[in-house]
């Protein structure tokens, strides 16, 4: 029973990811694309954690934690590059 609940939640998160992907394609300004990609990263972290619980292997949570850190750092790096035209 609870497996179906976890699976349905994963499907809902996937639908949300695809809606954000549409915004990342359409988005008129680059900031729209960055915003959609950042939200996609958060939803991906949730999806990886759900995947670990669907397959009863919570080692996936380490992957989710690493992905959260990479997502934040990449967002800040892209914004700094746009704002100051250099990363260093």
């Amino acid at each position: 029973m609870i497996d179906w609940v976890l699976l349905g939640s994963g499907c809902a998160i996937l639908v949300g990811i695809f809606m954000l992907l549409a915004r990342a394609f359409v988005g008129p300004t680059p900031f729209d694309r960055i915003l959609a990609t950042n939200a996609m990263g958060t939803k991906t972290v949730i999806f990886v954690a759900l995947l670990g619980f669907i397959s009863k292997r919570p080692e996936f949570l380490d992957t989710a934690l690493a992905y959260a850190i990479i997502n934040f750092v990449s967002t800040i790096a892209i914004l700094k590059f746009i704002e100051f035209k250099r990363i260093g």
């Binding site: 609870i2 939640s9 949300g16 915003l35 919570p58 959260a68 934040f72 914004l79």
Partner: protein
């Protein structure tokens, strides 16, 4: 007891998925960049917290999964709860410094 945890997990996951879907819908449908920040910044962190709390009850249900997974879930929740508002604020600041003006009533919405 396991059934009690299952009911709690179902409730939290349903609420979290509802919030995540409405947030994605808001990002897709809002007319302006600064109004798109609103669903992106708020629903993201709350949906993430709700889903992680729902998964935490699953950790309590199976003793084999144990406390390691619970500690990692709390770490992920705390990290995203700290960094998501920071990222949203940085995006808004970069857009404003970059010269993007908010949508006024008389202007055309740039969808």
């Amino acid at each position: 007891m396991a059934q009690f945890f299952d009911i709690l997990t179902t409730a939290f996951l349903t609420l979290g998925c509802l919030l995540a879907l409405t947030g994605a819908m808001g990002i897709l449908r809002m007319p302006d960049f600064y109004s798109r920040l609103h669903p992106a910044g708020k629903t993201d962190s709350l949906a993430q917290v709700l889903i992680m709390v729902g998964l935490l009850f699953q950790c309590f249900r199976y003793p084999t999964i144990g406390t390691g997974a619970a500690i990692r879930l709390v770490m992920i929740t705390a990290f995203i709860f700290m960094t998501s508002p920071v990222a949203t604020h940085a995006i808004a600041r970069a857009a404003y410094v970059g010269g993007l003006r908010p949508w006024q009533q008389r202007n055309e919405p740039h969808v």
